[in-house]
C-alpha cells in the first residue's frame, strides 16, 4: 500500500530551458519542496502554493498549477471531503489548519453598497477639505458638564464625566496575533506601524517582548485564559488591556501553541519552559458568568491604574445579549470577531462550521446596545475578515466604531494566505520561529509596508466620506441608511437594518 492515498494538490513546473540552476528556490522554500541535483527537482506533495519560490526565482521560470487530477463529479462528496477522510483514516487525528474560514458561505459585505451624493446634496472633495477620521476608543459619558472658560468659551468642568479614551488617527487597528504564532519581527513591524499611523497593535496572548517596550503606548496587551506573560508590569505598560474570551476562527476553543514553536525567546516572553505546549484552556477558569467577567475587568483596572479594558469575543448566535452583558460588566470596548477571522492554528471542523458573520454581529450588537440605551458605554471593534477600505466603511456604517485587521496586515508583509501557518514553516517568515525564516522580515521594511496599507485605506475612506457628503467618520458611524443591499433576503435585511437597493 502507498503511505497515503492523497495526491498532491499542486504541481510545481520548472521551465528548465530558462532555469539558471541558481538554487534560490531550494533555499527559499520553507516546506522543503525542492531537492537539487544539478537542477532543482520539486516534490509536488509538499507544495502549499505560497509562491515564495515563484516570487524569488530570477528567471521567472516556475509555475504552480492546480493538480488537474479529475475526481468523479459529486457535489456532495467534494474532493476535499474525500481527502479529509483519507487523512483521518491514516492518522486518527483532529485536522488542524489555519487562516480564516475558506468555505463558500455568502459574504455579506459583497452584498452591501454604499450611497453617494448627487445634485441635491453636494459631495465633498477630500483633497481640499478637512476630512476627519479621528476616532476615540472607549466609554463615552452619558452627559458632560461644562463651565465658562473665562474667555467667552467653555471648557469641561472638573470631573465632567469623561473617562479615559484612546485616540486613534484612523478607525483601523491591528488584531491580536501572539508572539509565538507570528515572529518577533512581525510584532515589531506592527508595533512600529501602529506608532507611525497613530493606531494600536495587539500583543495577542503571548506576552510583550521587551523589544516592543518603546512602542507600548500603541499596544493593547491581551489577557487570555492561559495568562501567558501576564504580570503587573505587562498590564501597566499597555495602552489598554483586552480580555480574550474567544476568537472568530475557533469560538469556544482554547489556544494551543505546539511545543515546537516555543523556542528560547518565545518561552521567556510567555514565561513558560521551552518545548512545552502552551495551552490556553477553552474558558477562563475564573469566568463563569457576567459577574465573574466584571470581577476580572475591575481586577485588571485596579492592577493597571484604571486603563481601558476591552473584551474580545467570537461572534456567535446569541452575540447581542452577550455583548450587552459585557458592556454592563464595565468593558470599555467590545471586540467582535466574525466567523471568517484568521488563526495561527485551529481544528478545521471548528474554523469551517462555527460562528456567525461579522456583518450580522455588528448590526445586532449595535442595535441591542442602542435599544438598551447603553451604546455610549463601550466602543465596538469589529474584525473577522476586513479585506479592504470598502469593508471598513461598510462595517462602520453598520455600527462599528473601529475595525481590526490581521490577515490584511500579514498579506501586506507577504503572506499569500496559503493556510499553512500551523506548520510553523512559513516561507514568508511570518508565522514561524525558525531564525533562517524569521529574518526574511526586516521590521523597518515591514513597518513601511503595513503603514502604507493603513494610509492607503485611510485615504480611500476619506474618498468614500467625501462621496457620501460628510466630513467625519463619526457621521457614517451606525448610519445604515447609507447602505443598500443586493441579493439578500428580507429577513437578513431586517437583521442588518439595511434596505434593499431601490428602496
Amino acid at each position: 500500500m502507498p503511505a497515503t492515498f492523497i495526491q498532491p494538490e499542486f504541481r510545481v513546473k520548472i521551465d528548465y530551458d530558462k532555469c539558471h540552476k541558481c538554487g534560490r528556490c531550494v533555499q527559499q522554500c520553507g516546506w522543503g519542496v525542492y531537492d537539487f541535483n544539478e537542477r532543482p527537482i520539486p516534490h509536488d506533495e509538499k507544495c502549499r502554493a505560497c509562491h515564495r519560490c515563484v516570487t524569488f526565482c530570477p528567471a521567472r521560470c516556475i509555475t504552480i498549477e492546480r493538480n488537474p487530477l479529475a475526481y468523479r463529479d459529486n457535489e456532495n462528496w467534494s474532493a476535499p471531503l474525500r481527502k479529509a477522510v483519507w487523512k483521518q483514516a491514516e492518522t486518527g487525528g483532529v485536522l488542524l489548519t489555519s487562516m480564516g474560514n475558506p468555505q463558500p458561505y455568502p459574504r455579506i459585505f459583497d452584498h452591501l453598497l454604499l450611497d453617494a451624493c448627487q445634485v441635491t446634496n453636494p459631495s465633498i472633495d477630500p483633497l481640499r477639505e478637512p476630512m476627519e477620521l479621528r476616532t476615540y476608543l472607549g466609554r463615552k459619558p452619558d452627559a458632560v458638564t461644562v463651565e465658562p472658560d473665562g474667555q467667552g468659551g467653555f471648557r469641561l468642568a472638573e470631573g465632567g464625566g469623561v473617562s479615559r479614551n484612546i485616540e486613534l488617527a484612523t478607525p483601523i487597528i491591528f488584531s491580536p496575533m501572539s508572539y509565538g504564532s507570528v515572529s518577533l519581527n512581525v510584532h515589531k513591524s506592527l508595533a512600529m506601524a501602529a506608532e507611525r499611523c497613530g493606531i494600536l497593535m495587539n500583543t495577542g496572548e503571548g506576552g510583550l517582548h521587551e523589544d516592543l517596550y518603546p512602542y507600548q503606548d500603541h499596544v493593547i496587551v491581551q489577557v487570555a485564559s492561559g495568562r501567558f506573560g501576564v504580570g503587573p508590569e505587562y498590564l501597566q505598560r499597555g495602552a489598554a488591556i483586552e480580555i480574550k474570551i474567544g476568537q472568530g476562527a475557533k469560538p469556544g476553543i482554547g489556544g494551543h501553541l505546539p511545543g515546537e514553536k516555543i523556542n528560547k525567546e518565545v518561552s521567556s516572553t510567555r514565561m513558560i519552559p521551552q518545548g512545552t505546549d502552551a495551552i490556553s484552556p477553552a474558558p477562563h477558569h475564573d469566568i463563569y458568568s457576567i459577574e465573574d467577567l466584571r470581577q476580572l475587568i475591575y481586577a485588571l483596572k485596579e492592577a493597571s491604574g484604571y486603563k481601558p479594558v476591552g473584551v474580545k469575543i467570537a461572534a456567535v448566535h446569541n452575540v447581542g445579549a452577550i455583548a450587552s452583558g459585557i458592556v454592563r460588566a464595565g468593558a470599555d470596548y467590545v471586540y467582535l470577531d466574525g466567523f471568517r477571522g484568521g488563526t495561527g492554528a485551529a481544528p478545521a471542523v471548528i474554523r469551517d462550521h462555527v460562528g456567525i458573520p461579522i456583518e450580522i454581529a455588528i448590526a445586532v450588537v449595535d442595535q441591542r446596545l442602542r435599544d438598551e440605551g447603553i451604546r455610549n458605554q463601550a466602543s465596538i471593534v469589529a474584525a473577522g475578515s476586513i479585506r479592504s477600505s470598502a469593508d471598513v466603511a461598510k462595517a462602520i456604517a453598520l455600527g462599528a466604531d473601529v475595525v481590526a485587521i490581521g490577515t490584511a496586515a500579514l498579506v501586506a508583509l507577504g503572506c499569500h494566505v496559503c493556510q499553512s501557518c500551523h506548520t510553523g514553516s512559513c516561507s514568508w517568515g511570518i508565522t514561524t520561529q525558525k531564525p533562517e525564516l524569521t529574518r526574511r522580515i526586516d521590521p523597518e521594511w515591514g513597518a513601511e509596508r503595513v503603514s502604507n496599507l493603513v494610509h492607503a485605506w485611510s485615504h480611500e475612506l476619506q474618498e468614500i466620506l467625501g462621496a457620501l457628503g460628510v466630513n467625519a467618520i463619526e457621521s457614517l458611524r451606525g448610519s445604515r441608511e447609507r447602505l443598500r443591499s443586493i441579493g439578500l433576503d428580507e429577513q437578513t435585511n431586517r437583521i442588518l437594518g439595511v434596505k434593499p437597493a431601490g428602496m
Binding site: T97, G231, H285
Partner: protein, 268 residues
C-alpha cells in the same frame, strides 16, 4: 453627595499612623476607595499597612509591586486578593474569598482561615499559604519559568479540579485543619490536563479522583527533601507543628507528559 454601592460608602477609609504602620479602617468603605488609599500610602512610602474591619473588599494588593511592602488584613478579604501582585506580603487574619493570588507573579499570601474557589489561577511565582479549606478549581494553570516557581499550600481539604491544567510549580494539600472531616481530601478531576509541576497530597488519593494525564506514587525521600523546606516555611508562617504535618506519608502526583495533546492533531 455620598454615593452608596452595594451597601458600601464611596469615601476614603479613616487612616491613622501607629509607629511606621499605616492603619486603614475598611468598615463600610467601597473597595475602590480602600485600594486607592492603599496605593497612595504605598507611593507616599508606607511599607507596613494594616487594614481593619475588612468585610469582603475586593482586589486588596492587586498589581502592587513593592517587594518590602507588608499588608495585614483583619476581617474577611474579598475576591481577587493579591491578584497580579508582584512582591509584597499579604497576611489575612480571617478568611479570604475567591481568586486569591490570581495570576500573581511573586510575593507571599498567608491566610489564617479558609479560602474560596480559583485560588492561584495562572500563578507564576510567589507563595500562597492557607491554614484551612479551599474551594473548587484551586491551582488551575499554575506555571513555572526558570527561577520563578509558584508554591501553594492548603492546610485543609479541596474540592474538584485541584491543579487542573497545571503547567508548573508546587501544589500541596494537607487535609488537616478542615471543617469537613467526613469528606475526601480532594474532589474529582485532580490534575486533569496537567502538563507540568507537581502536586503533593498528605495521605492517599483514589484513582477515581485523578485526571488521566497524571501518574500517582508515594513521595520518595528525594521528593520529601524538596517538600520539607516548603512545609517548614508554611508551619512557621502559620504557627503549626511540622512534625505533625510530616507524621503521614505524602502522595506525589505528576503529569505523564508535558505535551498531553501532542498527538491529537493531523496537519492539513
Amino acid at each position: 453627595m455620598q454615593q452608596v454601592i452595594e451597601g458600601y460608602r464611596q469615601v476614603a477609609p479613616a487612616m491613622r499612623a501607629e509607629g511606621d504602620t499605616v492603619v486603614l479602617d475598611a468598615n463600610g468603605v467601597y473597595y475602590q476607595q480602600l485600594n486607592e488609599a492603599i496605593r497612595s500610602a504605598v507611593s507616599a512610602g508606607a511599607r507596613n499597612i494594616r487594614i481593619e474591619n475588612a468585610n469582603g473588599q475586593r482586589y486588596i494588593g492587586a498589581g502592587l509591586r513593592a517587594r518590602d511592602l507588608r499588608i495585614e488584613v483583619h476581617g474577611t478579604a474579598g475576591n481577587d486578593l493579591a491578584s497580579f501582585m508582584d512582591g509584597p506580603t499579604v497576611e489575612v487574619f480571617g478568611n479570604a474569598q475567591d481568586g486569591v493570588g490570581n495570576t500573581m507573579a511573586s510575593g507571599k499570601v498567608v491566610v489564617h482561615g479558609d479560602a474560596g474557589d480559583v485560588l492561584g489561577y495562572g500563578m507564576r511565582g510567589g507563595r500562597v499559604y492557607v491554614r484551612g479549606d479551599v474551594g473548587y478549581r484551586v491551582g488551575i494553570h499554575m506555571k513555572a519559568y526558570e527561577s520563578l516557581v509558584p508554591v501553594v499550600v492548603c492546610g485543609g481539604k479541596a474540592r474538584d479540579f485541584f491543579g487542573e491544567y497545571m503547567a508548573g510549580g508546587v501544589l500541596v494539600l494537607l487535609g488537616m485543619n478542615t471543617q469537613f472531616p467526613g469528606d475526601p481530601i480532594a474532589g474529582s478531576f485532580l490534575g486533569t490536563g496537567m502538563h507540568g509541576g507537581v502536586i503533593y497530597v498528605r495521605g492517599d488519593v483514589e484513582p477515581w479522583q485523578c485526571g488521566k494525564e497524571v501518574g500517582v506514587a508515594e513521595a520518595s525521600d528525594a521528593d520529601m527533601a524538596e517538600l520539607r523546606p516548603i512545609l517548614e516555611d508554611y508551619c512557621a508562617a502559620l504557627g503549626l507543628d511540622l512534625d505533625e504535618v510530616l507524621a503521614q506519608p505524602f502522595t506525589r502526583i505528576v503529569p505523564v507528559s508535558h505535551r498531553p495533546y501532542g498527538k491529537l492533531y493531523a496537519y492539513l
